[in-house]
């Protein structure tokens, strides 16, 4: 749900149904350390194109090493039926939604979409982001916090072009070249904040 929400808000989500499992982004050395030598799931071969953005339901499941970004959120082991999914709130989950390429890329795509729709007006852009994630408009106080952050990020990325390029390169999807790299990077970080709001993750 958390992953699908981020994909959906960013416009990346593929709603195609059925078919074999897919292999989205996964850190290195997850399968090979537990897989038996010669096993056919010893090496993880990442999917390409739209298969990176399908609903998490279609993510390939290796029982000995389930997808780590889902496991952090207590994905059931699928060995027995689960009556009630456990609800927890851990720093490891924070690290997933802050740093997993899947979420960073979603933040960048959400930023692109919002900047296109908001015609680069900061308040209008924020409004698009808020509606696509929280399904509501922001209060003035919330806007002020996000614009404050945006400004700090923008200053950093204007002064550090390399950082902007590196951040935008996360994920396989195309970068909108019509937006300045510094601006897109700054708004990517704003979207990263919004996608990590308790209201989005917990409600």
């Amino acid at each position: 749900m958390v992953r699908d929400t981020a994909l959906s808000a960013s416009g990346l989500l593929q709603d195609e149904m059925f078919g074999p499992g897919v292999k989205p982004y996964q850190p290195e050395a997850i399968w090979d350390v537990v897989g038996l030598p010669g096993g056919d799931t010893r090496n993880y071969v990442q999917s390409e194109g739209k298969d990176l953005y399908r609903r998490s339901l279609y993510t390939f499941w290796k029982r000995m090493a389930p997808p780590p970004n889902l496991e952090a959120f207590n994905a059931p082991s699928r060995e027995v039926c689960t009556v009630r999914r456990e609800r927890t709130n851990t720093p490891l989950q924070a690290l997933v939604t802050l740093n997993d390429p899947q979420f960073v890329e979603a933040a960048r795509n959400l930023a692109q979409l919002a900047l296109q729709k908001g015609k680069s007006d900061p308040v209008a852009t924020l409004d698009v982001i808020a509606r696509r994630t929280l399904g509501r408009t922001l209060s003035d106080a919330e806007q002020a916090v996000l614009l404050d952050s945006q400004q700090a990020f923008a200053e950093h990325y204007a002064a550090h072009a390399d950082d902007a390029t590196a951040l935008l390169a996360v994920g396989a999807s195309a970068v909108d070249e019509s937006i300045s790299a510094a601006s897109l990077a700054a708004w990517t970080m704003v979207c990263n904040q919004v996608l990590n709001l308790d209201e989005l993750l917990n409600k």
Binding site: E28, T88, L92, A94, L95, L98, L197
Partner: protein, 477 residues
């Protein structure tokens, strides 16, 4: 937070006033209750073992080739295991079809070590032999499980079925965290130098089971990021991350002010902890601050990420920083064949580092309240699996007796507890079931195993379950 009064907080406060277990179970507490409060249950009495390092030897080390000396077996070479010893007991399908069960005496050199005089394999474990008097030896562990996964699950969780909380999760649940930058329960998987006969291990072994998920072991990896997703995305320096979390928390605080959901408060704290972890983990895994004499103590291998020596040193660094429970796995002890070829490298992997860990902790004054546990999930058979010669043989799984040891943390050094028959097949004196072992460890950690429970599925679930189990006083210092 005192001006915020929600249902959950009311219960939380009430729980503290009226005593933890009682009210919590009366109310049929939700998992999120603990997640939201981070208050450990607390020990029943002062713990002697405030921290634990558990070295699990995956595969089941051969007790009669290491610590359970059986000299009489030399005369039994290639003779059939007597029916009076086997007594029709179940074997694994890996050897149950064998036409013969010829006795394979150990090919290794044993000699008595220390003042306690434990006869052990001093040929392959010369360093560990120097520590025998600080170690509490248990030669009479036994289990019902005969294959790896259920046996490891039983050893870790008290039950052959996976899905129960493991020892580390119980420790985290019961004693809580001693630090604000790292998880309370960390898992390290060491890579053995020989990987011929590794067994699969999985995160199910360090799950929190029915305990709140925050008590699950966090696996620190030796390749890639030590903790998954700990590294900021490319192009996000720490200052920017800090700025982003500050903004995020300000927004979360606004929501908290409106809805007063403690879960939101927890979220804020967890993001702060995530940031502190990001700051502290690189320092933790950077061994360059360790002086040369430490690498002399643990061996040069300690510099190589993922080796057992590296893992042992990392364990010390973790508990030094307040991690409550470190679970280490060292694989490839499943010697169905070629004991002669595999045992030396297995022992070389662990001998010096085990010695070093005990010595290092002692020098730092930490051994007194840190419990070290060493052992596999079962033992191995006296009869050979496959071909037998004086020089080489194989051994199948044997659940009816095996050796484990503990040191520090209130365990009685120099104790040799339990005895097996001449064939190291059946226990003849002082058996220690896994449940007894668990009860004893919990006792050292400050818990009465019969009262240390968690309400789940309408039952007060315990690590030691409902079958008979007891603390073994002879093992306590």
């Amino acid at each position: 937070m005192h001006n915020i009064q929600s249902r959950r907080q009311f219960f939380t406060t009430g729980r503290n006033i009226m005593g933890s277990a009682a009210l919590a179970s009366l109310l049929g507490q939700e998992n999120s209750l603990f997640a939201a409060t981070h208050r450990p249950m607390g020990p029943h009495f002062a713990p002697k073992a405030k921290r634990v390092i558990y070295l699990h030897m995956v595969g089941g080390p051969s007790q009669m080739d290491l610590f359970d000396y059986k000299p009489v077996m030399q005369e039994w070479y290639d003779k059939e295991l007597p029916d009076s010893i086997r007594m029709g007991q179940r074997l694994t399908t890996m050897t149950s079809g064998q036409a013969r069960f010829p006795v394979a005496p150990s090919k290794f050199k044993f000699s008595p070590a220390g003042e306690c005089g434990l006869w052990m394999n001093t040929e392959l474990l010369p360093n560990l032999a120097k520590k025998v008097d600080e170690i509490c030896w248990m030669r009479s562990l036994h289990t019902e499980a005969i294959n790896h996964e259920p046996a490891s699950a039983a050893m870790q969780t008290g039950n052959q079925m996976t899905g129960r909380p493991c020892l580390g999760a119980w420790a985290s649940y019961g004693l809580g965290s001693e630090n604000e930058n790292l998880p309370s329960f960390v898992v390290l998987v060491a890579v053995p130098s020989n990987r011929d006969q590794e067994q699969a291990i999985s995160a199910r072994l360090w799950s929190a089971g029915y305990l709140p998920g925050e008590h699950a072991g966090v696996s620190f990896r030796s390749q890639g990021d030590p903790i998954l997703y700990i590294t900021n995305p490319p192009g996000v320096p720490d200052a920017i991350r800090q700025r982003s979390i500050e903004g995020l928390n300000r927004l979360n605080e606004m929501q908290l002010a409106v809805h007063r959901d403690p879960e939101t408060q927890t979220r804020i704290q967890q993001y702060e902890m995530a940031f502190r972890m990001q700051a502290s983990v690189p320092e933790l895994t950077d061994l360059s601050s360790e002086p040369d004499h430490i690498f002399e103590l643990y061996g040069e291998d300690a510099k190589k990420p993922g080796t057992f020596a590296n893992t042992a040193l990392m364990s010390r660094r973790l508990i030094e920083r307040g991690v409550r429970f470190v679970q280490v796995y060292h694989n490839n002890w499943d010697h169905h064949s070629n004991v002669a070829g595999r045992m030396p490298s297995q022992c070389k992997d662990i001998d010096q580092p085990c010695y070093a860990l005990l010595e290092d902790l002692k020098q730092r004054g930490m051994l007194d309240d840190t419990l070290i546990i060493w052992g596999g999930e079962f033992g191995r058979t006296i009869y050979t699996q496959g071909n037998l010669s004086r020089e080489n043989y194989g051994r199948d799984h044997h659940p009816r007796c095996f050796t484990m040891w503990m040191a520090g943390g209130g365990a009685k050094g120099g104790t040799i507890y339990g005895e097996t028959d001449d064939f190291s097949y059946n226990i003849v004196k002082d058996p220690v079931h896994i449940r007894d072992f668990h009860a004893t460890i919990l006792q050292l950690m400050g818990f009465d195993h019969e009262r240390f429970s968690y309400k789940f599925q309408g039952l007060d679930q315990r690590l030691t379950g409902v079958l008979p189990s007891r603390v073994i006083p002879e093992l306590l210092a």
